[in-house]
């Protein structure tokens, strides 16, 4: 196998693996930038952040893809071991795995930039962010591959790498310079050389790391087994020190065991991923803003968006049992658990909530860290103002309001993670791809706005919300009836759930009088869409409980 042929084969394999997800991810990157533009600019987000959301949103997803898609054994860090068997040198493997990934990341950013230029008509920096995105992706891969065996080193090493990068990036953000191109226009040859050096360093780090990983025997046990001369080994219990761990004691229930499996197989990675992504974003995207800009808002909004993205990501991951293959059929271990469809679906739902909660916790901790850092070295007054505002808000709101707000947040978590989970659990890729429909709608709207020059469609945005508001209870009712017919739920349980829903809805509407205005016919301003989101969220939060068992049964018993 000559080296060019091998490289081409690897590139082709990479293309085949990511052929379907690349357009989806590009779309997601575009809509991320678009959403940021539409939703957050009115709140005072700076345009610099758009570039970063596009670059790092895309990067994060690409990075996720290389993590998830290239694995044959589910989620894992490190280089793909399967490729070690190829008759190629380690530098060859590393470079030919990196090049397509870097090119893909760059191409995706360029597509996003082109989209912003064509559709939104904004002047959009190309050279600087592309070079930065390649550098970041290459470093992400290098760290991931070299530290696959020692994931606990990932955060400190990542931080150590990111800090000089941020320090270099910081002067790019001239405070007060409103024009997007102004800061990126002077991206010169010197910067390119610097980034090229950084890329080279990343490649070297990756080669050294992968080489060590390739040479290392699989496990300590296999080493022991290899050195064993013959004869019977003493019982394991005598040779191995007994580790006292919580899980050794056994699981209290089947659900507990399944939950543990879900967490260990997927949840823990989502949290790790969220932590890495958030730290990176805070440093590269939000952090320079804190240090340079007069406002904390951008960074907060940025992290808030990632908070919003965590539940669907968790739902998607927990719904898909085989991450590497296109076939999203329920895997055999899960499918043959002696659990009823409902119990299994509820366990997966619970796992999704746990994962979301963990990712949120990570995000909140990161946020707190960012606050502390900003308070110490940055805009102290702003932080104190925000903290004071929060304190006042807490002081002046009634406990009932807080409880309802908390309920709404839980409802959002359930809906935003449970609905994707349910759809993905069906094991039908068409339904999963349907998740992209809202994004497509927004993109279509943007194109419409660009062509006609009217932003009338933005005023239409609340109508889908109204439609959801009416559709979701109907769908819930139909699903509940089907669940009853198929024996997933008893009539009593369903009635109880329905009563809880009605009670909560009434409480919500009476507690917040502005919600009542939503039902008055007539023009619906954009701001009032928020008013719809609350009841829609609440009703959507009930749907996964009846939808997930149906979808799971559809997938499990084909």
């Amino acid at each position: 196998m000559n080296s060019f042929g091998a490289a081409r084969a690897l590139g082709w394999e990479y293309y085949r693996m990511s052929r379907r997800s690349v357009p989806m991810v590009t779309l997601a990157g575009c809509s991320l930038a678009g959403l940021y533009w539409i939703a957050l600019e009115p709140f005072g987000a700076r345009r610099e952040s758009l570039v970063f959301s596009a670059v790092f949103g895309t990067l994060l997803i690409v990075h996720g893809m290389t993590l998830l898609n290239c694995r044959s054994e589910g989620l894992a860090l490190g280089f793909e071991r399967r490729l070690y068997r190829l008759p190629m040198s380690t530098p060859g493997l590393v470079i030919w795995r990196m090049v397509p990934a870097a090119l893909l990341g760059a191409a995706m950013y360029l597509a996003t930039a082109g989209f912003m230029k064509l559709v939104l008509g904004t002047r959009w920096p190309v050279l600087g962010p592309t070079a930065i995105s390649i550098t970041c992706l290459v470093w992400m891969l290098a760290l991931n591959w070299s530290l696959g065996r020692r994931p606990y080193l990932l955060a400190p090493v990542g931080l150590a790498v990111a800090v000089p990068f941020v320090l270099w990036l910081k002067p790019r953000f001239q405070p007060g310079a409103g024009e997007l191109m102004a800061n990126w226009g002077d991206f010169g040859a010197m910067d390119l050389v610097l980034l090229a050096l950084a890329v080279l360093m990343a490649v070297m780090v990756a080669i050294v790391g992968v080489r060590a990983d390739r040479a290392e025997p699989r496990t300590l046990q296999s080493l022991v087994a290899r050195n064993r001369v013959g004869g019977r080994r003493a019982p394991i219990s005598e040779t191995m020190p007994r580790r006292k761990s919580r899980s050794r004691a056994g699981f209290r229930s089947a659900t507990g065991a399944q939950l543990w499996m879900e967490w260990r197989e997927k949840g823990v990675w989502v949290s790790l991923w969220a932590a890495l992504g958030l730290i990176f974003c805070a440093l590269a995207g939000g952090f320079p803003e804190f240090l340079a800009g007069p406002t904390l808002r951008n960074g907060l909004l940025f992290i808030a968006m990632l908070l919003v993205l965590a539940p669907p990501a968790a739902g998607f991951l927990h719904g898909r049992s085989n991450l590497s293959s296109r076939d999203s059929m329920l895997d055999r271990v899960r499918a043959t658990r002696p659990l009823s469809d409902r119990t299994l679906a509820m366990t997966l739902l619970l796992a999704t909530f746990v994962t979301t909660a963990a990712a949120w916790l990570v995000a909140i901790l990161t946020l707190t860290g960012v606050f502390v850092v900003t308070w110490l070295w940055g805009d102290t007054a702003k932080v104190e103002e925000i903290v004071e505002g929060l304190r006042l808000a807490l002081q002046h709101s009634a406990p009932a309001d807080l409880a309802l707000a908390g309920l709404l947040m839980i409802g959002f978590c359930v809906a935003a993670s449970g609905l994707p989970l349910s759809l993905v659990l069906s094991g039908r890729s068409r339904l999963t791809e349907g998740l992209a429909a809202p994004y497509v709608l927004v993109i279509l709207g943007l194109i419409f706005e660009r062509i006609t020059g009217s932003d009338a469609w933005r005023r239409l945005l609340p109508y889908p919300a109204v439609m959801m508001l009416t559709m979701i209870p109907v769908a819930s009712g139909v699903c509940a009836w089907l669940c009853y017919r198929r024996g997933h739920y008893s009539l009593r349980a369903l009635i109880r759930g329905g009563l809880a829903f009605v009670t909560l809805a009434i409480l919500l509407v009476f507690r917040f009088p502005f919600l009542q205005q939503a039902f008055v016919p007539g023009g619906l301003p954009f701001e009032r869409a928020v008013a719809y989101a609350a009841p829609a969220t609440l009703s959507a939060a009930f749907l996964p409980f009846v939808l997930a068992p149906l979808m799971l049964a559809w997938n499990r018993h084909r």
Binding site: E73, G74, A76, R218, T219, Q221, S222, A225, R233, P235, I236, M240, S247, R248, G250, F251, R252, S253, A254, G256, A257, Q258, W260, M261, R264, E265, D331, R332, V333, A335, T336, R337, P338, L339, S340, D341, T343, G487, R556, H557, R558
Partner: protein, 323 residues
């Protein structure tokens, strides 16, 4: 009292291809049913129905009297299953996998599990991902046996394994059924294994059942028969002799050519001599050679030889006939 497994008129299609075509199957309690067929014959499809992973498109599947699709928890709790693929979660250590699986089965036998692990030389600290294929199957076997399931389902467990592990699988089956009320469904394309451990045989090809009967009856019932008939009769009447339920012609030679040892090129002379036919026949009762010879000669045939048929020969001839 319901059977451990009862399948009636089960059909399954994947698009245009028929995977199972009216399969009827009953396993009695305490039996070892050997399911044999070529790769892609429908064995795995059948087993997926038993596990409730496929819904019967028509016909019915009952595991201990219950529909595995409607009551997955109840049926799966009584089934131990070893699949042909490496599908155990690779990131788990064996001890973790044991603990995890134990949580699902109330009747889990910890002593048996640890005994088996020791006997199989499994290292509890090892990750499943790093196991060899043989150790992987052994692990799957421990997981399937330790809950002491009433029905053990083995889907080609030993394909591609070394003889030691294959032997382990067979011994596991034998030891499993040694206890009261345990039943085994054993799918394989390794015929000698199936012949060893099964007492009932089902042969399946392209979704249809070719043979279904007690192992002894099948092995003894099939015979190779060589007979001679005149050229003018086409020999089709031989299969209609009493006591014979199946007769597959496997080949014929002109007897003149065979005895002289040289191919006869003269077509005229070939027309004048008799034809010798070798066929595979299935007899309902034990064969009485003299009675059969008498019946054959009454029908215009001369019975030359009756030879035993091995399971391999039966399998090859029946499946080739279908193609």
């Amino acid at each position: 009292m319901s059977y451990p497994l009862e399948i009636q008129a089960l059909c399954r299609r994947y698009g245009g291809t028929v995977a199972l075509d009216h399969v009827d199957l009953v396993i009695e309690e305490g039996a070892v049913l050997g399911l044999i067929g070529r790769n892609g014959a429908g064995k795995t499809t059948l087993i997926r129905h038993v596990l409730g992973l496929l819904k019967a498109q028509s016909g019915s599947v009952r595991v201990f009297g219950a529909d595995p699709v409607k009551h997955p928890a109840q049926t799966l709790a009584r089934i131990g299953y070893v699949s042909e693929d490496r599908d155990l979660p690779g990131w788990m250590r064996i001890e973790e996998l044991l603990r995890y699986t134990r949580a699902f089965f109330p009747d889990w036998d910890e002593t048996l599990a640890s005994d088996l692990c020791r006997a199989f030389d499994l290292d509890p600290r090892q990750r499943v991902r790093t196991l060899s294929r043989g150790q992987h199957v052994r692990t799957a076997l421990v997981l399937a046996l330790a809950p002491r399931p009433a029905l053990l389902v083995l889907d080609e467990p030993s394909s591609g394994l070394d003889p030691v592990v294959r032997r382990d699988v067979l011994e596991a089956v034998i030891q499993h059924v040694a206890h009261e009320g345990r039943t085994v469904l054993f799918s394989s394309h390794l015929l000698d294994e199936v012949e060893r451990v099964s007492d009932h045989l089902v042969m399946i090809d392209r979704g249809t059942m070719l043979v279904d009967g007690p192992m002894d009856e099948v092995v003894e019932g099939f015979k190779h028969v060589v007979y001679r008939h005149a050229e003018d009769s086409n020999g089709s009447g031989f299969g209609a002799l009493p006591g014979m339920s199946l007769c597959v012609e496997m080949g014929s030679t002109s007897s003149g050519a065979a005895s002289s040892g040289a191919p006869s090129s003269d077509s005229a002379s070939r027309n004048s001599i008799d034809h010798e036919v070798l066929c595979l026949c299935r007899f309902e009762t034990s064969v009485d050679e003299h009675a059969l010879a008498a019946q054959a000669s009454a029908g215009g045939f001369e019975l030359i030889e009756i030879l035993p048929a091995t399971l391999d020969e039966i399998f090859l001839n029946l499946t080739c006939r279908a193609s």
